[in-house]
Amino acid sequence: MNEASGRAEDRADGGRALTAAAFIPGLAHLRRGRRRAGLSLLGLALAMLAVLAFSFDRVASTFTAGRVDYWVAMLTLAGTLAAAWGVSLRAEWGRPRQRAEGTSQWAIAWREFNRNRVAVLGLFLMCGLYLATLLAPYLTSYEPNAIGDIAATRHLPPSLDHLMGTDKFGRDVFTRVLYGARISLSIGFVAVSISVTLGTVVGAVSGYFGGAVDTVLMRFVDMLISFPRLVLLITVIALFEPSIFTVIVVLGLTLWPATARIVRGEVLSLREREFVEAARALGLASPRIIFRHIVPNVLGPVIVAATLGLGNIILIEAGLSFLGLSVQPPTPSWGNIIDGGREYLVQAWWVSTFPGLAIVVTVVAFNLIGDGLRDALDPRLRI
């Protein structure tokens, strides 16, 4: 009897033995040879515990601060720890997972994606970024908008106290970049959701019905695409008061044509396929055919477009805030921090440099994921 089957038998009768793996997240996966999953769970748990240890005072102050973002951070911290531990426990105590031979299309895509090491790196980067924005109040001991003693803290170069230095008002740039990430990432997320949904609906309707509907919709798309994106955006935003809300709506309502074109192209070939013909022969209503039978088949390219679009929208939003047409100071966003540092670029290079690096890292992460997804979801590339 070899070791592996011995262990399986242990579990079969002993059930939930209190092994070390039951207490340390990730160990269970590591023991089963799933190195990447194990190490990431372990790393995640350690990172959360490190945050707890190093800023215990701030975590404790959650109960007295009475601020929403402290509670969000608390929930994130507890939730992430609990999730890491839960996943680990399931691997240790749960039944061994049945690996079916005939896997679904999405499972195949996920496996392909997992093989692509750079894409997974991008995914890790993205998760890290979102975690960091949620945990922001615990990761820094400064407030983003607190102006201290300007004479003493103005334009301090990067040091251990101020990782990215301080700006002209003596505010900690690292803190502002961290809080700015919230704005940039959430604007990107909401705007992409709006534009992708709109683009999919317009593209599917246009491709499915064809004829006059198609002509009208596509000529409208041609018109919107003729405007350089940023020009269209600033023209529309200029007429309203710049605010987060305006920017999200305008971004969502102006960036859909690209998705619409992609979806239309896919739908044009899908609608000639047998399963659509069968659905029509069954007498299903057009909306049902479009949304239940056609749209699920174009989700692959749509997801890819959305991921690449996220990176793009973050770049565009940064440009808008840089021009002062998005989030208004003192609320930090990556673009307006860069703009704020422009005046004293030579004396205090760090103010403009670091938020730009944050943008580059974020966009690289989204591009890596997007490229990985494209390779994983396009069956034509799979051999």
């Binding site: 000529r219 409208f220 041609d222 018109m223 919107l224 695409i225 003729s226 405007f227 350089p228 994106r229 940023l230 020009v231 269209l232 600033i234 023209t235 529309v236 200029a238 007429l239 309203f240 990176g311 770049l315 940064a318 440009g319 840089f322 021009l323 002062g324 047409l325 860069i338 422009r342 670029l345 030579v346 290079w349 403009s352 440099t353 730009g356 943008i359 580059v360 966009v363 690289v364 591009n367 890596l368």
Partner: protein
């Protein structure tokens, strides 16, 4: 071919009409009307009423629309509210500046992108190939305005503090010409202009160059696998001739379509880059006009931008039809 060009030209007309209409809709969808900014306790309501009448805002919407159409068709883009002169004359000064900047960038984008793409394709899977792919990824994830600021920081302000840094590699931080431009000789003027062009055109073009390189690499790889390339090699032609004479021509074809795709992108970038480098082009104009709430100028500039994109697409399509004999446009 002529028939094709004529047909494409005719197709562009409804598109342009649509763009004019879209701009009209955007203006009228906005809350308030242009007189709102003049409402002030010291301005009597009669004056405001008079302004509405002068600008035709009291007319029914379809009359306003027809007048709007007529003014665009006759090339009358209205009068700037802040500069008090016809918008046509303002834009006439600014359009060439934007074209100089974008044109230089475009040459840079395609020259660098194509060269790097060829090198990568020829040395596929080498360390050089991987390094270039990785750096391209970072470069096209950079915001152009930030890259511009960093270039200014390094090449205009910091690098020349090093003793060994050559003076020729220190570039001006802003503007199109130096202060003493008028005193320069003919060649000096040209040199000065080129010197001012270096940083902005790099900031504007480098991201697109990275993506052209990516397309060029895959296009070249596709062509290299073809039979006629094997034939050329089998004839004993030097590798150089095979790549540069036989493969390059065909690999370039799909790249031409990128030309039309990149222009809107380039103009978007130009808005930010012109702002950073104080370049007196259309991008700078529209940004200034927005901060001064000069709406007629904003609308006219964005309209001209759209027209430029339509024209560029037209040129790209025609160019493609000219160079690719396989496609018959009948």
């Amino acid at each position: 071919m002529t028939a094709y060009i004529v047909r494409r030209l005719i197709q562009a007309i409804p598109l342009l009409l649509g763009i004019v209409t879209l701009v009209f809709v955007i203006v009228h969808a906005a809350p308030g009307d242009p007189t709102a900014m003049y409402v002030h306790p010291s301005v009597s309501p009669e004056v405001i009423e008079q302004m509405r009448e002068n600008w035709g805002l009291d007319r029914p919407i379809h009359i306003q629309y027809l007048r709007w159409l007529r003014s665009f068709l006759t090339g009358d883009l209205g009068v700037s509210l802040t500069q008090n002169r016809p918008i046509v004359s303002i834009l006439a000064e600014r359009i060439p500046n934007t074209l100089i900047l974008s044109g230089t960038s475009l040459v840079l984008i395609f020259a660098i992108g194509i060269a790097i793409g060829i090198v990568q394709a020829v040395r596929q899977h080498s360390t050089l190939d991987h390094t270039l792919t990785l750096s391209a990824l970072f470069i096209y994830s950079m915001p152009s305005f930030w890259l511009g600021l960093m270039l200014i920081l390094v090449f205009a302000h910091k690098a020349h503090l090093l003793d060994w840094w050559p003076a020729a590699l220190t570039f001006p931080a802003s503007g199109m010409t130096s202060v003493d431009y008028d005193l320069m000789s003919g060649w000096g003027k040209l040199g000065d202009r080129l010197h001012h062009l270096v940083l902005p055109s790099i900031a504007l073009g480098v991201a697109s160059a990275a993506s052209v390189a990516r397309y060029m690499r895959s296009s070249m790889l596709e062509v290299i696998r073809q039979d006629y390339i094997r034939t050329a090699r089998a004839k004993g032609l030097p590798e150089r001739t095979v790549i540069l004479k036989h493969a390059l021509k065909n690999a370039l074809l799909p790249i031409i379509t990128l030309l039309g795709l990149y222009l809107p992108f380039l103009f978007s970038g130009a808005v930010l880059v012109e702002y950073v480098f104080a370049w007196p082009g259309m991008g700078r104009t529209i940004v200034d006009a927005i901060s001064q709430r000069d709406y007629p100028l904003v609308m006219a500039t964005s309209f001209i931008f759209a027209v430029m994109v339509v024209i560029a697409n037209l040129i790209a399509d025609i160019l493609y039809a000219v160079v690719d004999p396989r496609i018959r446009y009948e």
